[in-house]
Symmetry: C2
Subunit: 210 residues, 2 copies
C-alpha cells in the first residue's frame, strides 16, 4: 500500500490515460505497443510513459514494447480501475441533469443510484431515471444505499455544506464541478472540474498566442 | 509578448484562479488581501502565489499584501480576461445541450452564437436558444459569424475531423470534452476536459486511499 501511494498524482493520471488507450487498442486487436506509440497517441513523451509504467511494473522494457493485455491488466489491478463504484449526483441544474442521464455512458464502472436537489418541487416532478431526494436526506440516503462517489453540481455557495453531508454519509470521492475549493478530511479524494475556470485558462492561453 | 508567453501554463492557470477569487473579494468589499489569504482559499501555498504574481507584477510584496482591485486589473490585462469571446457548441448530445443552454451563465465573457450537430433531424427540431447548423456547415458558419472559440462535445471518433473544420473556419481555442487527443496547428489552444478520464483518475486515487 505504501509503495502504491508513493506514485505522484500526475503519474497516476497519465497511467489512467494509458489504461484507456490500451482498452481501445485491445478492442482493435493490437497486441503489442511501444512507449513511443503510447506517447504519440497521448501527447506525452515516450520517456515519461516508460518512467510512469516503471512505477507499477518492475520488468519489461518500454523501448522494445509492451504486451497490450498484460500492461492493461497491471494498471487496472494497481489502481482498481475495473472496480465498480456507486454514485449520486447532487444538484440537478442542467449540467447535473445531463450528468445523471448520461453518466452511465460517460463514466463506465460508475453506477448512478440516486440524485439530490434542494428544490422540493423539482424533487417531486423531475424524471432523470434514478430516485431523486431532497438535499436534507443526503447523509441518510448515502449511508443506506452504500454510495461511495458523488458528482457535485450544486451552486457554489452550498458546495461545502453538501460535501460535508455527503462525507458524513460515507462518500470517499467527489467529482467537484463547483468553483468552491472543498475542505475535506483525510481519506476523501476530490477531483476538481471547474468549467468556468477552465474557460478562463483557455482564454488566457488564447490571448498569450496559443 | 515574449515575456508574457514565458509564463508556465500551470502558473497562468493558478493566476486565473486568483483572478476569479479577487472578483469575489471585490464584490464582498475586501480591499486588501495577503498571499496567505489567497493561498488558503485556493489550496495553494502562499509562496507559490507570490511567485506566480511576480511573473506579471514587478513591485509590491505579497507578504504585506495586495490591493485587491489593482491586482485583479493587472491579471485581467495581462491575460485579456475581460475580453469577450464568441463561441459555438459542436455536438448536441445531452452534455452539449446543457452547455449551450447554460454556457452563458457558466462561462462569463463567452457569447455562444451558434451550435452544430450531425443529426439533420435534430438540427431542424431542437431549440437551444441559438441557431443550430449541420456539421458540414461548420467552416463557413464559423468564418461568417467570426467565432473564435469552440466547445467540442461530439462523439470521440469524429472529434479530430470536427476540430479541423472549426480551425479552418478560424477557431483559435477549443474546450475539448472528448477523449480524443486533438492534433492542431500552432496558434490554436486546446484545453482538455475529459470527464471519463477524470473519473478514472478519481477512482484510482480513491483506491490508493485518498
Amino acid at each position: 500500500m505504501d509503495e502504491r501511494k508513493s506514485i505522484p498524482v500526475p503519474a497516476a493520471a497519465r497511467l489512467c490515460a494509458v489504461y484507456r488507450l490500451l482498452c481501445d487498442l485491445s478492442a482493435q486487436g493490437v497486441n503489442f505497443v511501444s512507449s513511443g506509440d503510447l506517447g504519440e497517441a497521448l501527447g506525452i513523451g515516450a520517456h515519461n510513459i516508460r518512467k510512469d509504467i516503471s512505477h507499477i511494473s518492475g520488468g519489461g522494457s518500454g523501448r522494445s514494447g509492451y504486451d497490450t493485455a498484460r500492461l492493461k491488466k497491471q494498471i487496472a489491478e494497481h489502481f482498481g480501475l475495473e472496480n465498480e463504484y456507486r454514485a449520486c449526483v447532487t444538484g440537478l441544474g442542467r449540467l447535473g441533469q445531463a450528468l445523471v442521464r448520461d453518466g452511465q455512458h460517460i463514466f463506465k464502472e460508475l453506477k448512478i443510484v440516486a440524485a439530490f436537489d434542494s428544490d422540493l418541487n423539482r424533487v417531486e416532478t423531475i424524471d432523470v431515471g434514478v430516485p431523486v431526494h431532497p438535499t436534507y436526506e443526503i447523509t441518510e440516503t448515502v449511508k443506506r444505499l452504500n454510495i461511495d462517489t458523488a458528482i457535485l453540481t450544486v451552486p457554489d455557495p452550498t458546495a461545502q455544506e453538501c460535501a460535508e453531508r455527503l462525507i458524513t454519509g460515507g462518500i470517499k470521492g467527489i467529482m467537484n464541478f463547483t468553483a468552491t475549493h472543498l475542505k475535506v478530511k483525510g481519506g476523501v479524494t476530490v477531483r476538481n472540474i471547474d468549467l468556468a475556470g477552465e474557460f478562463k485558462i483557455l482564454s488566457a492561453l488564447m490571448f498569450l498566442g496559443g
